[in-house]
Symmetry: C2
Subunit: 254 residues, 2 copies
């Protein structure tokens, strides 16, 4: 049965979408069947893979309104990788789900494909509202992208509090899969200093793989491709492939 | 009387705080009297200048609760630059101001120092809630930092809609000061392509100065200093000084 992974970090611009797209594509390249769910009204996993943003009859909004998941999946240029796109209609759910707190809607809507995929990866918006809480309630594990920058350390405490709230309430199975250090500049001590601080604060919870800052990662979405399909030899592509291998290895021993 | 500038871009991690700190410091270095108001519960303008985050009796939260502004300003290591710090208490205002919509509170609280400073610069949170709306209602002009990255283009339309709403309502004087292209990577076409798209979409509204991606800008806040006091010869420091000169020049001809 599929393992559901949610990206999480309420701070904006920290690499959630970049990790969602490139981890999903790398796992698919390593022969895993993967579904990527764009769950952000910004729709960046959608446009980053070259798809147009859907209207209310398709994509994640339709999924949450009860449309069958089989009718919503799009095949990407990566064999084994399909995506459910998202558009701005999704933002409406923030209010609707709030009035009548419904945290299980996403989990229930993915149930029909749980035995087909090996991984389902969810890319949420930069907030801790009802859309993100639905993603955290659907998830088995959470991956927290964390830039190696001074200001990025701040939001971690608040994020951990939210995870505990979800674990203590709607989703007791939720685990912290790990913290992925990203945008690590190789030419400076700042990256190393921040990385050390995070490893000390969260022992055993920081992935071995660090993602370097690499321009190919910023360029690839403007070509509608995962970085491995844009420049396979780049440090960006190679680091996400080794992250996918590290993830698969970890999974084997769980 | 002081000109009030607000940074604005609801997308996170786009350079609002980096621009607030370094434009404020650069204007102060060019002999302008400047007040920087940290108006983000994250308190990054505060910690980026080496100050601790205040409790509810000090800082921007106290300012909004009626404490006299003269009692709240802190002198930075830059002559001519003072700062009002912020802490997490400020987040509480998001709800309080919502229940009884009060958009003029910040503007009224700054009135006592309008004749002392030449510039007051406000650093808001990455959202379009009541805290940011108070900042936009207090402001004469808005500066929009815009990374030269593919996903950053998306949020501009929504931001412009919000500015029009404020102009049509609580603050008819509000002007778009301009769009500041930042994090421009020199070694790639992505920056140039995005810059061209923005200049075409907003003719005459994009500043001449482009801020390059420069590691010193990311390192400086971990030392509690504006970049000019951390590494004056760096491209980051020099680009914000030329931006400050461009701003002063523009102001003269208005
Ligand atoms: N390792 C990296 N090297 C270079 N650029 C990167 C890297 N990771 C992400 N980026 C770029 O940084 C920007 C922010 O990344 P991304 O969109 O993945 O963050 P996010 O957390 O999903 O943002 P949001 O909170 O808005 O959803 C994007 O322009 C992306 O291309
Ligand atoms: N030109 C630049 N070159 C290199 N790093 C930069 C540059 N501008 C900003 N940064 C770094 O990028 C990160 C995000 O910048 P910053 O905190 O200023 O954005 P912000 O819009 O204020 O974020 P938030 O939305 O969370 O308030 C910071 O770590 C900062 O140091
Ligand atoms: Mg994203
Ligand atoms: Mg900021």
């Amino acid at each position: 049965t599929a393992k559901i992974l949610a990206l999480a970090n309420q701070k904006g611009g920290v690499g959630k979408t970049t990790t969602a797209i490139n981890l999903a594509a790398s796992l698919a390249m390593l022969e895993k069947l993967v579904l990527l769910v764009d769950f952000d009204p910004q729709g960046h996993s959608t446009t980053g893979l070259g798809f147009p943003k859907p209207d209310h009859r398709a994509g994640a909004f339709a999924l949450m309104k009860g449309a069958p998941v089989h009718a919503l999946m799009l095949q990407t240029e990566v064999p084994n990788l399909q995506v459910i796109p998202a558009g701005k209609d999704l933002a409406q759910l923030e209010f609707e789900l709030y009035e009548l707190p419904q945290l299980q809607v996403l989990r229930d809507s993915l149930r029909p494909v749980m035995d087909y995929y090996e991984y389902i990866i969810i890319d949420p918006p930069p907030s801790l509202g009802m859309i993100t809480l639905n993603a955290l309630t659907a998830a088995d594990e959470v991956i927290v992208p964390m830039p190696c920058e001074f200001f990025a350390l701040d939001g971690l405490a608040e994020l951990m509090e939210t995870l505990h709230r979800i674990q203590g309430g709607p989703n007791p199975r939720l685990q912290l899969g790990g913290i992925l250090l990203t945008m690590a500049e190789e030419r400076t001590n700042l990256g190393a200093a921040v990385a050390q601080e995070v490893r000390q604060a969260f022992p055993g919870k920081v992935f071995q793989t660090m993602i370097p800052r690499n321009i190919r990662l910023a360029e690839a979405p403007s070509h509608g491709k995962p970085v491995a399909f844009y420049d396979l030899k780049s440090k960006g592509a190679q680091s996400y492939l080794s992250f996918a291998r590290e993830w698969i290895e970890r999974d084997k021993h769980q």
